[in-house]
Point group: C2
DNA sequence: GTCTATAGTAAGATAGAC
DNA sequence: GTCTATCTTACTATAGAC
C-alpha cells in the first residue's frame, strides 16, 4: 500500500514536474520567437501564449509578467554565453596559456562566436526595445563581466580606468551587434578577427 | 484705416507667434525636467503640461504626442551638438589644421565637452528608456555622423570598415556616457583626454 | 492657439473554476 | 498547474468651447 502510494506520488510529481517544465520551456521558446519577430513593445502577451499553446494564467504562474518573461529569456542567454566563455578560457589555461590579455581574447572570441550562433537574440537585445530599465540591467551585467577581466588586465577604479572598462565593453558589444546583423558566417568571422586586432591595439594592459 | 488694420494684424500675429513659441519652449523645458527626473516611461504627459503651465491640448497641438515631444527634445540636443562640432572643426581648419584624424579629434573633443554641459540629457538618452524605436533612431544618427567622418578617415563599406565605424561610435558614445555620470569637471576632462588617446591608438586611418 | 473635460483603447494583470 | 473570462487602470488622443 504504502509503497504503491509512494510510487504513484513520485510518478505523479515527476510527471507534473515534467509538464511544468515543458510549459516553461514552451513559453520561453515562444517568447524568443515572438519577441525576435516583433520586439518587446509590439509583442502582446496573448500572442506568446498562443504560440506556446499555453495560457495567460500559466505565463503569470511561471514568470509573473511580460517584463519578467523577457528578462528570463535574457538570463538564459547570458548564462549560456558565460558558460561558453568560461569553458573556452579554462581550456586555454589547460593548454598552458597564462598571459592575461591572451586569455581575455580567448573569452572575447568565444563570446563573439556565441553572438553568431544566437544572432536572433543578439538583435533583440541590441534593438534597445526592452522593458524599462532593461538597458541598464544589460549594461550592468556586461560591464561586470568586463570589469572582472579588466582587473586582471590591470585596471583600477579611477575615471580613466572606468573608461577603459567601458570602451572594452563597447567594442565587444559593438562587434557582437555587427555580427548579429551579418548573414554570412564568413563576415562574422572577419569581424571577430578584426575585433581581436583592435583590442590588441588598444593594449588595455598599458593604458595607464 | 488700412494702415491701422494692417498694423493691428501684424502686431496680433507677432504676439501670437510669440505666445506660440513661448508655449513650445515652456513645454520643451518642462519635458527636459520631467523626463530627466523620471525617464520616459514613468513620465505622465499631464505632469509635463502641469510643470509647463500649459495643457494637454497644447502639447498635442505643438508636438503630436508624448513620443514626438521626446524626439523633439532629442533633436534640439542633436542640432546643438552638431553645431558645436562643425564650428570647432571649421575653426581648426581656419587655424591651418588639415590632417583628417586631427580634425576628427577636434570634433570629438567638442562633442565630449557638450556632453558635460548637457549631462542631464546625456543620461536621459543613455538610459535606454525612450519611446519604442528611439534607440535605433539614436544609433542611426550617431553612426551617420561618424560614418561621414570615417569616410574621410579612409573607411569603406566592407564588414571590417563597418566595425571600425561602429567601434568609433561606441567609444565616443561610451565616453559621453561616462562623462554624463561624472560629478566633477576635472574627471570629465580626464575622460575626454583619455578618449583622444584611445582613438589615436586605434589609428582608424590604418586599420585596413 | 489654448484649454478642459471626456472618450477610447488596449494591454497587462487577476480571480476562480477545473 | 492550467485555463478562460473578466477587470482595471492608466494613458493617449480628441472634441469642442473660448
Amino acid at each position: 500500500m504504502t509503497r504503491k502510494a509512494v510510487r504513484t506520488t513520485a510518478r505523479d510529481s515527476a510527471w507534473q514536474w515534467n509538464r511544468s517544465e515543458q510549459t516553461r520551456r514552451a513559453l520561453l521558446d515562444a517568447a524568443r520567437e515572438i519577441f525576435c519577430e516583433q520586439g518587446f513593445t509590439d509583442s502582446a502577451i496573448v500572442a506568446v501564449v498562443r504560440r506556446a499553446g499555453s495560457s495567460v494564467g500559466s505565463l503569470y504562474h511561471h514568470f509573473g509578467g511580460k517584463t519578467e518573461l523577457f528578462v528570463a529569456l535574457w538570463e538564459d542567454y547570458e548564462d549560456a554565453r558565460e558558460r561558453d566563455a568560461s569553458e573556452a578560457v579554462a581550456q586555454a589555461k589547460e593548454a598552458g596559456e597564462t598571459d592575461p590579455l591572451e586569455l581575455f581574447l580567448v573569452g572575447t572570441r568565444s563570446f563573439l562566436d556565441g553572438c553568431w550562433r544566437r544572432r536572433d537574440l543578439v538583435r533583440l537585445w541590441m534593438d534597445g526595445d526592452g522593458p524599462p530599465g532593461f538597458e541598464l540591467m544589460r549594461r550592468g551585467r556586461g560591464r561586470e563581466w568586463i570589469r572582472r577581466n579588466a582587473v586582471l588586465l590591470g585596471a583600477g577604479g579611477e575615471p580613466v580606468d572606468r573608461l577603459v572598462v567601458g570602451v572594452l565593453t563597447s567594442v565587444i558589444g559593438e562587434a557582437g551587434r555587427e555580427i548579429g546583423t551579418c548573414s554570412r558566417k564568413r563576415d562574422a568571422d572577419a569581424i571577430r578577427d578584426a575585433t581581436v586586432v583592435l583590442i590588441r591595439r588598444l593594449d588595455p594592459l598599458h593604458v595607464r
